[in-house]
């Protein structure tokens, strides 16, 4: 079964507030601020631990007992509202429609900033007989998402899911090892239609650009890594 972290620079890859360069989300106010960078972009080394660890039966029972998702607690930030699945009862169709905002010069700030966009994306896993759908706005971090994905697809994996540990994008040889293995890695199709490895960009940027998710064998994802790094370089 998967273990929790290998102690490999976990702190640096942890998603805390006060992201280096003040990227995305709550802006200042974090208790931990990493080395600020002029570009404001995060390199791969700051990405979150992307372990897709299978949970034990006890974990699953506990999680399913409390239906409300808990978010990262941070003293500096007021607790965000825990989102309950399907509540309030607004149709997915309506949520998606309200989420798509067309740029409108006369649109007031008030209307656009208040609406929380729902982002339903299809999730497929190679070898699994059916698709799932997730609302990315239900999660606040990559870890939340990966926990949820692991739970969703746990009946199909044989323990190879995430046993490897986190994806360290900076360490090319480790990355190549993972991608050469039969481990599952999560990938996503972004707005441009490119398939990328999950975890390469700050969470909020990911939510905004992810159109669909696909969990595939590392060996199949191997083609993505160089492209992903290329794209990141181009972004900054």
């Amino acid at each position: 079964m998967a273990t929790m972290g290998h102690g490999l620079n976990l702190k640096e890859t942890e998603l805390c507030l006060g992201l280096p360069g003040g990227g995305g989300g709550g802006g200042g106010g974090g208790s931990e601020v990493e080395t600020p960078r002029a570009s404001g972009k995060r390199g791969f080394s700051e990405t979150v631990d992307l372990k897709l660890n299978l949970q034990t039966k006890e974990d699953l029972n506990e999680k399913s007992a409390s239906k409300e998702k808990t978010l990262l607690k941070d003293p500096a930030k007021p607790p965000a509202k825990a989102q309950v699945v399907g509540w309030p009862p607004v149709r997915s169709y309506r949520k998606n429609m309200m989420a798509q905002k067309v740029n409108n010069t006369e649109d007031t700030e008030k209307t656009t900033s208040n609406t929380t966009a729902a982002a339903f994306v299809k999730v497929s896993m190679d070898g699994a007989p059916y698709l799932r759908k997730v609302d990315l706005t239900m999660y606040k971090t990559y870890k939340d998402l990966s926990d949820a994905l692991a739970k969703m697809f746990s009946s199909f994996t044989t323990g190879n899911y995430g046993a490897q540990g986190m994806i360290d994008f900076m360490n090319e040889s480790k990355l190549m090892d993972l991608l050469n293995s039969s481990e599952y890695v999560p990938t996503y199709e972004d707005k441009d239609g490119d398939w990328m490895l999950v975890g390469d960009v700050p969470w909020e940027m990911f939510v905004g650009s992810c159109k669909r998710l696909r969990i595939m064998k590392g060996s199949e994802a191997i083609g993505l890594a160089p492209r992903a790094m290329e794209k990141c370089k181009n972004r900054s």
């Binding site: 399907g86 309030p88 607004v90 309200m98 209307t111 208040n114 299809k122």
Partner: protein, 589 residues
């Protein structure tokens, strides 16, 4: 004596054709059902002339059974997934596949004219089969459906020479190519109603314009968001007879000629009664619709993110309004105006603009609903999202509107009490069911104890559908509903402390209902098994994404439970996370 004999002779020799003719005036499924129960010969005559079939749950009966009983069907309506699928509570791949139905009907009903589906999965192949199997196909309505692409639509367009209606309301369509519309041949002129509002991408607009202008009976046209506003005027000029119009995005660069064109085009639409669409509204363009406002009976502004003053200006012109769907931007002030101006209002739906925000972003409270209930004597159908409520307000609404038939209140934060008294809202909802004797549909919210269910069981005798969330204290609550609501057909419950006792005590009731949904409650696997065993005419389906329920103790609560009556036995198309409780004890462990 002779007179009596004569009458008896007449009734025995009453020609079938005459009876059939009489029956042809009776359309309602319920009445048709009653007719068929009178006697054997009426059953036979009725079944041969039944033209419309309504199947509320596609798994309650098999296609073969329908075909066998009603060999001459022209119109079929099928519903698939449970209602809570709309809120993402039903995982993907649950079911609701229409394919077996289409395949069977393609052979059995060559004269089929109408197919209406809700919450079902339909593939392009299926659409193709429809397009090629039914020569006189007229109506295709797909509400909240999925599984198909614009390629399937192209096949319908190309092959259905007599198509009147194509309605894709709120369906999920993979939009491959906007040119599907061009597949309607130039000779095709019979389109009456087209709803493509759910399509993501722009359709081929010139093709659409040509289509609309060559179909003289066009009555309803609902465009999608991508349809540009500056082309709307031209479209309207080609179809001034339109009665229902759904605009695309109601915004454009502010150009005076676009506005004047649009206003002139609307002026030409003398029959227009209903408007919808209005995504991304630029308020300065709203006055273009003023020419039609006084005749409007239906107005859907539920995607229009405009503020209260603009909404008031618009709605204030629509004195004939019977139905209004709007966002909570309308605020109490707007609802006061509605109550004062729209005396013919029958249906009001107020949707939340910011359902996940922590605090209220608009000045909409219980007061707005109270005003409308006071000012609009015909109001009978309400859907209202808000953040606060009082028992007093509910009481007032109940007394004002005893004619209420549909009342769905959603107080956004679960378990919110009466904000003045901090008590539960039991008595408020109690007043609703007590005074509104014809209430058919009710959705509850706020802080509620078992008491509210006692009221419901006592008074809500005509209630057919009840939706419950985060309410109640114990099994007694569920017991009140199951034992008291004589006409209950659909019950859906989430996150309530209801367990085995009430269900098992009222097991027989479940066979009188269409379906029961329970999720995040406390019904044990053992109880599900028992229900499945004891009631062969129910399908008891356990939905559990944690894996096979028999790997956990019997006392373990199931995640989700869907029970429905059926005469076709357990279904065979379930995904891996759904288990049907078999009706004999020898199922596989």
């Amino acid at each position: 004596m002779q007179q009596q004999q004569k009458v008896a002779a007449l009734s025995y020799s009453f020609p079938e054709e005459v009876l059939e003719h009489v029956f042809s005036f009776i359309d309602s499924t319920k009445d048709r059902g009653s007719i068929s129960l009178v006697c054997k010969s009426w059953y036979e005559i009725e079944r041969w002339c039944r033209r419309r079939v309504f199947v509320g749950n596609c798994y309650a009966i098999t296609p073969a059974m329908v075909i066998k009983r009603f060999p001459k069907v022209r119109s079929i309506t099928l519903k698939g997934k449970p209602h809570f699928a709309d809120f993402n509570l039903v995982p993907e791949g649950w079911g609701g596949y229409v394919c077996p139905w289409i395949k069977a009907m393609a052979v059995a009903f060559p004269c089929l004219e109408e197919i209406k589906l809700k919450r079902m999965v339909i593939s392009d192949d299926c659409l193709d089969l429809i397009a090629k199997s039914f020569k006189n196909f007229k109506v295709l309505v797909l509400i909240s459906c999925e599984g198909f692409t614009t390629d399937g639509l192209a096949s319908i367009a190309a092959n259905c020479r007599n198509l009147r209606e194509l309605d894709l309301r709120e369906s999920e369509v993979e939009d491959i190519c906007g040119h599907w519309l061009s597949h309607f041949p130039d000779s095709y002129t019979s389109l009456v109603s087209l709803n493509i509002s759910c399509l993501a991408n722009e359709v081929n607009f010139p093709a659409l314009e040509r289509l609309v202008s060559r179909c003289p009976n066009m009555h309803t046209l609902r465009l999608n968001r991508a349809a540009p506003l500056d082309k709307l005027a031209n479209l309207l000029r080609g179809a001034p007879q339109l009665v229902e119009l759904g605009t695309g995005a109601y915004t454009s660069e502010m150009r005076p000629e676009v506005f004047t064109n649009l206003a002139a085009a609307f002026s030409g639409c003398k029959q227009m009664k209903g408007l919808s669409g209005f995504w991304d509204v630029l308020p300065s363009y709203l006055p273009a619709v003023y020419p039609v406002c006084s005749r409007l009976t239906s107005l859907n502004l539920s995607y229009a993110t405009i503020q209260s003053p603009d909404l008031i200006k618009l709605v204030g012109q629509c004195q004939s309004l019977q139905r209004l769907w709007v966002l909570d931007y309308i605020e109490d002030a707007g609802l006061d105006m509605l109550a004062a101006s729209c005396k013919d209002l029958r249906e009001l739906r107020v949707f939340p603009s910011d359902p996940f925000g922590l605090e209220a972003n608009v000045a909409l409270t219980e007061q707005g609903l109270v005003s409308v209930s006071e000012g609009c004597p015909k109001l009978h159908s309400v859907l209202y999202f808000c953040r606060q409520m009082t028992n007093a307000a509910l009481n007032t609404i109940a007394r004002n509107r005893p004619n209420m038939t549909r009342f769905r209140l959603c107080i956004i934060e679960p378990r919110t009490p009466d904000y003045l008294t901090l008590q539960s809202l039991d008595s408020g909802f109690g007043a609703i069911v007590e005074h509104c004797k014809d209430l058919q549909r009710l959705s509850l919210s706020g802080l509620l104890t078992d008491r509210v269910f006692e009221h419901i069981g006592t008074y809500a005798k005509k209630l057919e559908m009840l939706s419950v969330a985060f309410a109640g204290d114990s099994d007694l609550g569920l017991h009140h509903v199951l034992s008291g609501c004589d006409n209950l057909r659909k019950l859906e419950i989430r996150d309530c402390p209801f367990g085995d006792k009430a269900l098992l005590a009222n097991a027989a009731k479940l066979e009188t209902m269409r379906s029961l949904w329970m999720s995040s409650c406390s019904v044990s696997y053992g109880a599900c098994k028992l229900l499945g065993q004891k009631l062969p005419r129910l399908n008891v389906e356990v939905i559990d994404e944690r894996g096979p329920p028999n790997l956990r103790p019997d006392s373990n609560p199931v995640e989700k439970l869907y029970i429905y009556r059926t005469i076709s036995g357990p279904r065979l198309d379930m995904p891996g996370y759904v288990w049907t409780m078999e009706d004999d004890s020898a199922y596989l462990e």
